[in-house]
């Protein structure tokens, strides 16, 4: 228990005015070869995991809505690599890749998609609601913008406790048009909270183009409304994303929250059931041409970091990881109906209603003989 006069950890609560909205300085886009290879492996794992998830969906093993990170592997990898172990991640429903990259066992993620007991959310969350407190992966959220105030609040808690951690709050481009985004950025900037908002600009809401939904389509510029520094970065380059995130995170840790806009492409429909007919063939081709996994492979091969053999062996390795994940999921039991009322409340209370549908609130009771009844 501490006193209330704790000195603020950060020098200034206010971000000041130096270059809000300035593009991130682009330093040299190379890291040590092992690091680059690890990025590549990560990206391939996300790619293969998502492809397998899509297949499981068509096999009716996965239900509900299922949104994939296909095309966003570079951003996922770059963002996650920049984090410290203690940092928190909040995501939207398009979060499988982030959960994987955060180090959560692929089997537990696949089991969640399968709705099984050993799923990362015990089968309660599904594709949109993966969560793992140990990994400080604070959830996928299905309501657009719903995660943004939460992430801001976790940053507030870090600040309250003068902790060294930061929070990364992921969202899509469409999310920058909803009120919660603006309320949250203002609060974070006002209080100097340790948080980075990462807008994954894949150019589309569901079928709505950024230009049709955002009057300022250069989304990073919106940070200026809160005197918050921000940057736009090539989301197809994991190294660029990584470097931008390092800058952003160190700013955030110093009490100057930051917004990063990563420019990516969505390779498939909005969710696995969306054929994306609203997209022209050219648009679809352009996204395919920019495939970040393929592009990174070409680049690393050009640098001599990756060889054709290595590409094949990484793929094989990753495929077996994914196959194991599926096997794990398949073997995990379905949650038992007896657990249905286990997670309504953390602190038990009397009189909590625990009725299965159709059960009688009151068991049939006989009519009493009433003293003085006249009928």
């Amino acid at each position: 228990m501490s006193t209330s006069s704790k000195a603020p950890r950060r020098p200034s609560r206010r971000p000041g005015t130096d270059e809000p909205g300035a593009p991130a300085q682009q330093s040299d886009r190379s890291l040590a070869p092992e690091r680059m290879l690890a990025f590549y492996r990560q990206m391939v794992l996300i790619r293969r995991f998502e492809e397998r998830a899509a297949r499981a969906y068509t096999e009716a093993e996965v239900g509900g809505y299922c949104h994939l990170n296909l095309g966003e592997e570079a951003t996922v990898t770059g963002v996650t690599a920049a984090l410290d172990a203690g940092d928190y991640v909040y995501a939207n429903y398009r979060e499988h890749g982030y959960a994987l990259a955060r180090g959560i066992a692929p089997g537990r993620l696949m089991a969640e998609l399968y709705g099984r007991q050993d799923g990362v959310s015990r089968g309660w969350g599904g594709s949109m609601h993966m969560f793992d407190l140990d990994a400080r992966f604070m959830g996928g959220y299905g309501i657009v913008g719903g995660q943004v105030p939460l992430a801001t609040g976790t940053a507030l808690a870090i600040d309250y406790r003068s902790g060294p951690e930061a929070v990364v709050c992921l969202m899509g481009d469409g999310t920058t048009n909803i009120g919660a985004f603006h309320e949250s950025l203002n609060i974070a900037a006002l209080w100097g909270l340790p948080i980075v908002y990462l807008v994954n600009n894949n150019g589309l809401g569901m079928g709505t183009a950024v230009e049709q939904s955002s009057a300022e389509p250069e989304l990073y510029k919106r940070a200026a409304s809160y005197r918050m520094p921000s940057a736009r970065v090539d989301g197809n380059d994991p190294v660029a994303v990584f470097q931008a995130m390092r800058i952003a995170l160190s700013s955030a840790r110093e009490g100057r929250p930051y917004l990063v806009e990563a420019m990516t492409g969505r390779m498939k429909g909005h969710s696995v059931v969306d054929p994306a007919r609203y997209r022209s063939r050219e648009e679809a081709e352009a996204v395919k041409a920019a495939d970040p996994v393929a592009a990174f492979a070409v680049r690393l091969r050009g640098q001599g970091v990756l060889t054709d053999d290595l590409i094949v062996s990484i793929d094989a390795e990753v495929m077996s990881v994914v196959a194991e994940a599926v096997a794990f999921a398949e073997e995990s039991p379905r949650p038992d109906v007896s657990t249905l009322f286990d997670y309504t409340y953390a602190t038990p209370v009397p009189n909590d209603a625990r009725l299965l549908p159709g059960a009688a609130l009151y068991p049939a009771a006989p009519r009493p003989v009433l003293a003085g009844a006249s009928v």
Binding site: G115, W124, Y141, G142, V144, G205, L340, P357
Partner: protein, 330 residues
């Protein structure tokens, strides 16, 4: 008369009203280019253009409020809120503006708008996407709330809603979109505020709406084979609530079961049960039984979700047990 789906019935109602009245327009997320999350508005952008089929940013509060403001000066917006879950973000605009503007300003401005939005669980969409919160609107004076269960009612009630000068929420249901039924070609708007007896019967009254009204009919049909004659009431209009029709039925049958897709405690069924227990007090031979969702955040896993949702079996059991209770008392 043609047999069409519930989806088609909604689509047809929208299209006919758009053709009839230039002041009717559609507004919502992904209703144009994407043709609607559930395709109710498919083809409408192509036919009517972006002035009358308006794709919005993701901003439920903003675009619902904008529709209200457009209605205040006489346009007739039909808002699509993708699912009723997202309507919570627009709740303040609906409850504090749409429902109150006519009264709060002493009757000077009307708000002739419609909000179409589907409820419904059972699609493994998890806790935030499987709610039935029509209660939030049915509770509010100034709102009208209808909840059709058949294609014919879907069309007739949506027509009525668009022509009504008050804000009307039309509750659709994910599980009903593909159901089919006969719809007369020259259908008239329904009267908002009237329940429908969808099956006459003598032994017990089953009251319901939306998806559960179809479950009620199935239960009645199955129980007919057991010699039980069930009267089914589809209340259709949650606000105003047609109490007289419900009470008259229970005064005839002497007992009732309520089927609902929302949570039991404080749910829509509570009012129906309370109303019956009051208005048919001296006619009731058993307590009014409610069949509803389990009171948990809806789990994703199929095994749990199935257990949490009221089923046809649950409905039939409740009806049988209520009849047993009646027999014990008569």
């Amino acid at each position: 008369m043609s047999v069409i789906s519930y989806r088609q019935a909604l689509h047809d109602a929208l299209r006919e009203e758009m053709l009839r009245d230039d002041e009717v327009f559609l507004i919502g997320e992904e209703i144009g280019v994407f043709e609607g999350s559930y395709k109710i508005t498919a083809g409408m952008l192509a036919e009517f253009g972006p002035r009358r089929v308006r794709d919005t940013p993701i901003a439920e509060e903003g675009f619902t409020g904008a529709a209200i403001g457009a209605a205040m000066v006489g346009l007739r917006p039909v808002v699509e809120i993708m699912t009723i879950n997202f309507s919570l973000l627009a709740l303040d605009q609906i409850v504090n503006n749409a429902a109150k503007i006519y009264g709060m300003f002493g009757g000077q401005a009307r708000v002739p708008m419609v909000i179409r939005t589907p409820g419904g669980g059972g699609q493994q969409l998890g806790a935030t996407h499987s709610q039935n919160v029509e209660l939030y609107y049915a509770f509010v004076p100034g709102m009208k709330v209808v909840a059709p269960s058949t294609p014919v009612d879907a069309k007739a009630l949506l027509l009525a809603a668009i022509r009504d000068d008050d804000p009307v929420l039309v509750l659709e249901n994910l599980a009903l979109y593909n159901t089919t039924g006969e719809v007369p070609d020259d259908i008239e708007p329904a009267e908002i505020g009237r329940a429908r007896i969808s099956r006459e019967g003598a032994d017990i009254t089953v009251v319901s709406y939306s998806r559960m009204a179809t479950v009620a009919l199935s239960a009645a049909e199955q129980l007919a084979a057991e010699g039980v004659d069930v009267e089914v009431i589809d209340i259709r209009s949650l606000r105003p609530l047609d109490r007289p029709t419900i009470i008259a039925s229970v005064q005839k049958t002497g007992c009732a079961v309520v089927l609902e897709d929302d949570w039991l405690t404080y749910g829509i069924g509570a009012e129906i049960a309370a109303t019956i227990s009051d208005g048919a007090f001296d006619w009731l031979d058993a307590p009014v039984r409610r069949v509803a969702m389990a009171e948990v955040p809806m789990p994703y896993a199929k095994s749990l979700e199935t257990a949490a949702l009221p089923s046809l079996e649950d409905a039939m059991n409740a009806i049988r047990e209520t009849l047993d209770a009646v027999a014990r008392r008569r």
